[in-house]
Amino acid sequence: MANVPNIEVPTRKRTEAAEKAARDERVLVRRAQAGEVFAYEELLAKHQQRVFAVVGGILRRGEDIEDVAQQVFVKAYFSLKRFDLRSAFGTWLYKIAVNECWDYLRKKKVRRLVYESDLSEEQSRQMAAVSEGVLGADRPKEDAAKRLEQRELIERLLSELDEEDRAMLVMKEVEGFSVEEISETLGMNVNTVKVRLFRARGKLVEVYRRRLQNAPPRPRKTVGAG
């Protein structure tokens, strides 16, 4: 039998490290449940960036993100005694974050903004330049202001998607969540998440193309005779 290289050691070490981290976290959670504020503060420090990522993925408005994230941690603190440690603390916390975001959107009665033929000539140029900037082989040095404007345009495209699709796309493509983490956080089956991600990317590009088509045509420059 040929020697088969042992490729399991790094995997095993990662698994052991992950299990140790999970055990340490369970100890912290139990201490926080017993009333130790310092333990909760440690959990807060560990998970705050990801909570911001989840809330930011759904709300997309900077001034709301910190308020909602703060509510998430306060709510989690007062619900801590009901947490039975069956899932990871992070998963439980991100579910609270998602629910707080939906409640916040319902209260604000946020309607999906539809930008129909709202693009100016300049904006349509920027929109077209996005794909050139993204896909072009030679990417010229980007002007920061232009880049910011292009980002705003893509945010507008994203705002036309369904809230859940938007959250999934941002969590996956921008914030680096795995499909399994997204499925646990949003309470969906893993395969459902994968199919929705696949479809949502397509919808985003569809919206992008529609914007380009609906954009006002560029006025023709007339050259003076003589």
Partner: protein, 170 residues
């Protein structure tokens, strides 16, 4: 007869497999479409467009969407301050000094009420019936005339008189 799956369900199956292909490509694995998958993408406009657009969509997002902001300076402090304020709001009359006193007073009151209840039960069950039976005895003796108690005979003549009276009564 075999029931054909609706086209949407068929595409859903392929969408899942295509997403897996994209994930594997993302991970840097060498991927190729399986023959049936390649065949479906070739024949289904919807899936072909989605597969072609998936890469552009992913790139648009990664290039064009900024990640969420970092928590501001002092975020943890603000959260803990909010928690403390909420805790005090939830505790009625929430003074740190008086709260233990209130708790202790509550417990003492409960103990006192229990003792009073037990005493009351004891008095009702045992003391009152005894007092009632003593009263009852006095009432009965008032109704029933008590026989006169004769003094004990002092001499022999007293004994003879007593016997004679007794015989007369027979």
């Amino acid at each position: 007869m075999w029931k054909r799956k609706p086209i949407e369900d068929v595409c859903e199956d392929y969408a899942l497999r295509l997403e897996n292909v994209l994930e594997d490509a993302e991970a840097g694995d060498q991927v190729s479409l399986e023959p049936d998958l390649r065949g479906h993408v070739g024949s289904c406009d919807r899936c072909r467009a989605a597969f072609e657009d998936a890469g552009l969509g992913r790139t648009l997002l990664r290039w064009g969407i900024a990640p969420a902001p970092e928590p501001g300076f002092g975020f943890s402090t603000r959260v803990l301050a909010t928690i403390r304020a909420d805790q005090e709001r939830r505790t009625p009359g929430g003074s740190i000094f008086w709260r233990p006193v209130e708790l202790l007073a509550g417990r003492v009151a409960l103990a006192a009420a229990t003792v009073v209840m037990l005493l009351g039960f004891y008095v009702y069950a045992f003391v009152v019936p005894q007092a009632r039976s003593a009263e009852f005895g006095q009432e009965i003796s008032a109704l029933v005339p008590q026989p006169e108690i004769q003094p004990a005979p002092q001499t022999k003549d007293d004994v003879l008189v007593l016997l004679a009276e007794h015989d007369n009564g027979r």
